[in-house]
Symmetry: D2
Subunit: 175 residues, 4 copies
């Protein structure tokens, strides 16, 4: 498991399409909530047997006002087998009801753009963002359900620090 | 569970392509062995969590001279998501090493031809053929591993009845 | 896994008490049936998590006219914790409904008499007897459910050889 | 699941013996830590298959300076089968290394004293105490690992309120 040391709000995901969402999901608009993102591939066995059921369990365990659950389809292999139509069928068959973003394919190689930017090394990877949008954990592989519950509740319990200049964020100050 | 009452060798599968096989698989050429066929769809959750692991366990438990294990990809929904390339990726990722046939799509509807002919009602379905090629069991849904072991060993233990006219079979008599 | 090479009917169990049985169980009286015996200790974790549930599954899978399921409580450690009253509570709480024999304690050491005679090396051990009372398999540790189903069905399928001298058995001939 | 509404430090356990402990465990001395107590019976199937493994997982997941894990053997049936020697064998075989208290038997009935005082209705029951010794949750039956992780981390994250009269506690004020 790796914890991430940063205090800067994480960059937005670069997503071609969001499924199960009425409009594009924005990390900025989720500021104030803890966000659990499961980066997965629909043909990755560990994603199917472990990460997707765990994501559902997070959705079931934590109230939505505290924790948002997202999927991110980070296809870095077998691209032809894991296109949008295939993902839609997968989402339907596995009864996934949280938003799933399709990581934007790269023009220069198999690894999609968000996966590159977040330096993910494979799937499944669990990304945990705190209420201020800072990426706090990036964990490749199987994580125990109890550990996930503990990490999320720890982030939920954090109070949001009042910014010194409340009108300044994202590198800009507004009137 | 349903047992099938017939004494006639079952019809050959109508298969567009065989994967994991150097040449098309023929039930007739498997005469003398018990054959376990798992009809599945790669995006059917019960197939992935139960039937495919069980098929591997059959391959592991019974010697190949007694029992042949086959997959049959009987796609009757989400056709665009479960084409040949997708199935090849699935077979690779799930480490499937037994032959898998792609049930021949129908021109007239979503249900492929072998699935129609065998009157399968869904996936996963386990088809068990005896040493003489007679379909003896067609079971939809989850079957307990112990039950599968028992059914297969029962078929393995059956002696092959000597045909009255040993040179006649498949509807023809040979010199 | 070890298969046992012998053609002689196995010796009777030496049992202090039979629970869940209206009278003492005798292997001789079970002649004609396949018999699956789970040697276990109620405080052996692998027995509780694996062998006892499997024994129940055998009872559920095979008809009683073909396969008899027995437990044999072979206590070789923690004797004070696994006496008859404790075993009765265990049988009640774990909803065990097949006969369970208490292996006769030895005067000379911790290993009880049947366990000695059958040269068992630990618990759980699965003993499989064929229809003629011959011990055919003695398997220490975890056995896959499919394997157990296959072994039992193989024994069930064996025809009972007609003895050449039907009045002779157990080393004696009777008028 | 039931949450407990109280702000008073919970009463000490009434325990005949503590196993796996160099001296009697006192809730008062654990003040400052979150405490997870698994009330169980060694012959209760759900305790063995679920609660004990979960208790071990809590011990594995949370550092001991934050969370203390205790067992409480609350025998209310089959008393003769679950005495101290039997429990010691159970603790040994199941590799339990956290302290386990034997709930003090009652002179007047089958339910032991701590179980009475805490009004437990069965086993397994999970009791969660906050850093100030207040019982916050009393949950009978199976609880999901993720939920336990979340509840514990939530309690761990609570800051300890400074008492208004720091020298007053337990109903007395000290100089």
């Amino acid at each position: 498991m790796s914890s991430v040391v940063t205090t800067v709000a994480a960059p937005e995901f670069r997503v071609a399409n969001w499924l199960n969402a009425s409009r594009p999901v924005s990390l900025a608009r989720l500021r104030g909530k803890v966000v659990a993102v499961y980066a997965f591939q629909m043909l990755c066995p560990g994603c199917v047997s472990h990460a997707i059921p765990q994501a559902k369990q997070v959705r079931h365990t934590f109230p939505r006002e505290d924790v948002e659950v997202l999927g991110l389809h980070t296809v870095f292999e077998h691209h032809v087998a894991m296109g949008r139509a295939a993902l839609e069928a997968f989402i339907h068959e596995y009864r996934i009801d949280f938003p799933v973003g399709i990581d934007q394919p790269s023009d220069n190689g198999p690894v999609p753009l968000t996966m590159q930017q977040y330096q993910l090394r494979g799937t499944p990877t669990l990304l945990l963002f705190d209420r201020q949008g800072v990426l706090r954990h990036s964990i490749l592989g199987k994580v125990h359900d109890m550990q996930v519950g503990a990490l999320l509740a720890g982030l939920v319990a954090e109070t949001i620090a009042q910014p010194q200049h409340p009108h300044c964020n994202d590198g800009a100050c507004r009137i």
